[in-house]
Symmetry: C5
Subunit: 351 residues, 5 copies
């Protein structure tokens, strides 16, 4: 995992400077809009057809996947009369989740997370939302999203989805993102449980590295979820006229989900610390086992070897050597010493 990436323009450039085209990773840009009011839905991919007109209706949701077409973003931003610093934040991904209130529109940054179960890799993507009086612009870093259920609900016009304003649309998008966190948490939870099972069976140095990687994923998760809680709380407090009162109760619901995600993250951190303790203790326990075996073997045989050495000496006058029963007696002594040692170890609970 790369530890740190610059998240804004290079040193010394004036505010509002965009990265040069080469600095942006290549990839295609997908643009689409969805314009709806309670009666009808229009879809298309040409932004000009979906001009955010005056008034509250119809609501226009413009979704852009990919940041490569800066000219397009620039045109859009200028048409919506959005501050240039916003565009800078959109294209310099790795922002912290935040809510900026520009009176006429809100600029919201959230982080979309995904977890690759095969690689055990956590990927993060920045989504920028611009929420205006009759439009929502959602800009994602990479093509492909998980907003199809939201699109489906709008097309079908079920529930409040089409009857409510752009604030409810923004809620639905954020709610989808937060829901996805739970999927990520479930998968990480499974990874942790699997790691725990393997660790309890046989501790192995690679597992400590796995624990470290999981701990860093917790850092990434925290950095996505903790500030999001503040963002949603600020939206719920309805400081802005762009958030209708009836949306508050839904925001409180997402807020609860964010708090649950935070609690899960904190529990995972505790569990990971516990696993690290278990690992260390399991390793040191194995060392103890090894040492015990060495000690038992050595303390039994070292005295015996000494005795054998004694009767291997070549002194002329060693009466034991010429006794008839000398050899069987010495074997008896060997056995007595060895068995005595074993009994002593038993008493000490070492065997």
């Amino acid at each position: 995992m790369e530890l740190f990436r610059r998240s804004h323009r290079n040193v010394g450039l004036p505010p509002g400077t965009l990265p040069s085209p080469e600095a942006i990773p290549p990839g295609s840009v997908q643009v689409g809009y969805l314009q709806y009011d309670p009666e009808q839905v229009r879809e298309g991919s040409s932004l000009d057809e979906c001009l955010p007109e005056k008034g509250e209706r119809p609501v226009c949701w413009i979704n852009i996947d990919g940041l490569n077409d800066i000219a397009l973003l620039d045109r859009l931003i200028q048409r919506l009369r959005v501050h240039p610093l916003v565009l800078e934040d959109i294209v310099h991904t790795h922002q912290r989740p935040k809510l900026e209130d520009y009176d006429d529109y809100l600029y919201i940054v959230v982080r979309m997370l995904d977890y690759d179960e095969n690689q055990n890799e956590l990927t993060a993507e920045q989504m920028s939302l611009v929420l205006g009086p009759n439009y929502v612009v959602s800009i994602q870093e990479f093509p492909g999203d998980f907003f199809d259920p939201v699109r489906g609900r709008i097309r079908l016009g079920k529930g409040r989805s089409r009857a409510s304003g752009p604030d409810y649309l923004a809620y639905m998008l954020i709610d989808t993102v937060v829901d996805h966190y739970f999927g990520v948490l479930e998968k990480i939870g499974e990874t942790i449980e699997d790691l725990e099972d393997r660790l309890l069976e046989h501790a192995d140095p690679a597992q400590l590295h796995e624990i470290q990687i999981l701990k860093r994923q917790m850092i990434v998760l925290r950095r996505a979820v903790w500030p999001l809680r503040e963002v949603i709380a600020a939206m719920e407090r309805a400081d802005s006229k762009l958030i209708r009162r009836e949306t508050s109760v839904f925001l409180r619901d997402v807020y609860d989900h964010t708090v649950q995600a935070i609690e899960a993250i904190e529990s995972f951190r505790d569990v990971l610390s516990g696993l690290q303790d278990l690992y260390l203790s399991s390793v040191s326990n194995r060392l103890n086992q090894v040492m015990k075996v060495l000690t038992i073997i050595a303390t039994i045989f070292i005295p015996l070897t000494f005795l054998a050495g004694v009767y291997g000496m070549n002194f002329r006058w060693m009466p034991e050597l010429s006794w008839k029963w000398g050899y069987p007696v010495i074997w008896g002594v060997f056995l007595v010493v060895a068995i005595g040692m074993v009994i002593w170890f038993r008493r000490k609970k070492w065997i």
Copy 2:
């Protein structure tokens, strides 16, 4: 213990979506009501008989054990004009304890805990309370509860139980749940003491795992009790007209109990950390003992074995071998070396 379970609808579903019938674990649903005013009590199991009419009296307590009959819950919720998000929270268990004020009614979530002494397992169950002007609906996850004493008090009409409003009933239910926490804490306290006794007698790697499990139970307890404190504090502050002033003093009492439970949990965490330290030190202490024995045996016999080896050499000219007293003298040397070593170890306080 499963580390994490999703506590709300699946990704992308609109707010208020209920789980499909198959997703709900099978089990029977028990429904009952208790309608009372200072003069009389009526009981039954048909909800239609206990329509919450206008006015403050009589108070109706509807208790539902089990979440399988969603149609029933839905009907009840609609009759009470409760927000659909509440029903969603009721059926998606694993909510955090919380208080939501919908002006006309309060929605309260608390977690009921139980501890199985044989399995040393902590089980948690979600109880939802809807507190209206003249009714309380309590919905539990599983059949079987510990509210019989409350029912008994209402039937007998002793004390304030029947003279007070639904807020006092809600207080009695929460108080019973919190009282139960103390039972759980007592049992866990005994488990910890028992573990400590065993640990001081003989440390054993399985104990570290037990400590880890107890630590996780502390996480579960904290997640049940910490937010509950906030819930009760919010009720006590009487932000809502549904909580009468005279109930406040009782809520303050439960609040105190919650704080005591929190303190007990925090102490247990400290004690568990202490046990872990004791375990690790006890294990390393045993390793030291083992090492000492090895060292003492080895350092006594290694030089002796060398000496025996020397006189086992076959050099033609080795005058000692032909001395008459050579053999007894070498035994004397053996003894002197061995006793010298033992005295030296004694001085070093190793024996």
Copy 3:
């Protein structure tokens, strides 16, 4: 130390329920009163003589040692028109220190601590204070207290003791309790210093257990002192008309003492952690010493033993064996190898 004791009525009992007489540990109850105004003092043990009459004077201090005579407590409480929950808190000891303001009277719980130097045991006792307009009721768990100096001061009528109201009396009692904490802290400080001296001289596994016990005593101390600070701060803020302005400056003084006690406790915790580090390091240091001796003995003699073994072989053709100087030469080799090893160890700073 018992880890956890239930501090209130059993599950499911209505609020205000008192424990059954059998649940209360046996022991005699001592009752006494002291009624005073600036001119005179009356003492006795019959509560009926010391009826708190209307008005501010005379002040009546009723002291009860022991909780066994519930009927007596009940009668007293009813006469003073005190809320039944207060009596419940009085008899269910193990309350947290707290201040409850019932407008007409204040209910204060403090914990009296004592330290048995021989057993190194910390004992805690609950004292309840009911402070009314012209009375103070102090109820202690066990007979025997340390309030004789306060009684003496009142009898002699020195200083403000008799000229001030019941709030000053409550201050004097709390001040005496807090003063006693310092005695406890001094004794624990001596225990810690003694432990440290023993630890620096010779580390021993029992010491780790002592450290754990001291750490738990710190938990008990914290639970007595931290909330007391809040209690005194609340009294000092003079939220209640029962606390006169001129008593504030004295309460600020006790408040300072409480803060000092808290600082001492926190320092002790730090020192105890340091001792634990010292212990662990001292033990591992001794292991290192043992290992070094083993290594030095073994690495010196193992090669020598090998050499002796070589010349103990029975090959027919081994020219060294028949050399005249073979035996002295091999002893020279033994010495050279041994001395070389010793020099090498010296260089490595192992000896």
Copy 4:
């Protein structure tokens, strides 16, 4: 790294005392000014030409590199009617970042950081800003800065740079400093990643020292960035009339960057703790390997050596010795014992 340097005048000197000329490290002082309004730019190095006249325009930016010429600083400070304590803080470097509001001017301290990749050394330099109604004075500790891009933008008069007031200039300077933090963080991030790679390959005691050094660099970074966040927040809150409302949105942008820097620092700290754990575990893992090899070799050969010793004894009557197959049989026994041991170790998963 020197742990602590005095950051203000010596003991007992009156406030406003400046260090004696010898106390200041020698080095040349570079002075320059840049006076601009939307129409034109003037540059020079004589401060007298750039007298900050009344009114808001033109804006004068005076930059001084080096603190040696105290007379010059003194003259400047007196001309701008700045409090003598400000000059004291300017020349006593090692101030904490802070904002002091003297109504007519703001005094801001920020710390400029640089990282030498070859030496892995973090250097810090104090920059003082005095922001008045129509001037900015920036005073740096050492010659050489990274403000050339700012100068370039003013000379070209692009964007707001020349149209805005001195508060925007102060913003540009602080923004440049904060941007530079990201460069430092990137380099430290690379150092950490490189260290991690080396550690995973082969742990080595010097690495622990490297980790300690990096941890101290984190302390230096934190001390530079944490208080800066407060400084910028205070500027953004626009407590002073010297900060125009339109500059706020830019300050919020730098604020975000500071928060990102803080998060990066905190993550680095976590990662460094993780590396330390990895190091310790890696070292203890290697010890385990060593112990295992020793144990395996010793436990295989110690019994064999004993057996060889037995048949090296010189007892007269040892029937095995005269058996024809005695020697091959004993080799068979050797092999059986050795192979048995190996199989046993395999089962225990030690090999």
Copy 5:
């Protein structure tokens, strides 16, 4: 270091009780005053000459070194109409730094620290300040202070020293005390750096004890500096009419210095933790070295000794023994085994 000393009167004594003369450590008391207005200065040692008259001028600074002459203190306190609790706090040293506002005067406690470089001992002394409308009384625990520069400034009448009121004098005294903290911090910093150098060269168990002692000195420092910050902040907020507005800016300066001292202390704590880690790792690293040498020597020679033992057996039929090249061949085998082992160790990077 004594861990805990009682800092107030004994249990049960009424508030305002002073220690009996024997309880106070013997030592002479030095009294002196300095009375000044912008025109003149008077000095002397008889307190009666320096009666604080009505009005703001002249300012009288009374300094008392030593607490033995309680009669004198008592007389002074009564003349200034100071509350008896203040005198109690003055003579019971070991107060926490604090500010008490008695409307007519402020009572300030600060702790003066000194560091003995030879003994590496930190000594603390309590200074009490009573700040009235036209006087400052400073009472120190022991004779000898570091206020001569302040006296010098007043005598010379330089700067504001004589033109300002008693609040500026109190500022100068506190500033001098805080300046002295930096001297202490510098010396401790040097001690830590010296310890670190020694530790990196050769770790030694006594160093861990040194680290523990330094950690406790950090506790003493924190207890002196943290609350002082609050004291100065309270003075700066100018809650009292005794602190003039123009003194605020100077107090802000001392406040900054206090914050710097706190930051230095916190860094030292981090550095000390790092040193402890280094020590432990260095010790365990040395153990690893020792183990490696043992293992290498043992694993090389144990198999060789076994082989030598084999050919020391006395079996009648051992064909190798009678081969002519048997002896050289076995030496060859010895060499091959030994060199093979060494190569294997090299590959494993153990040598």
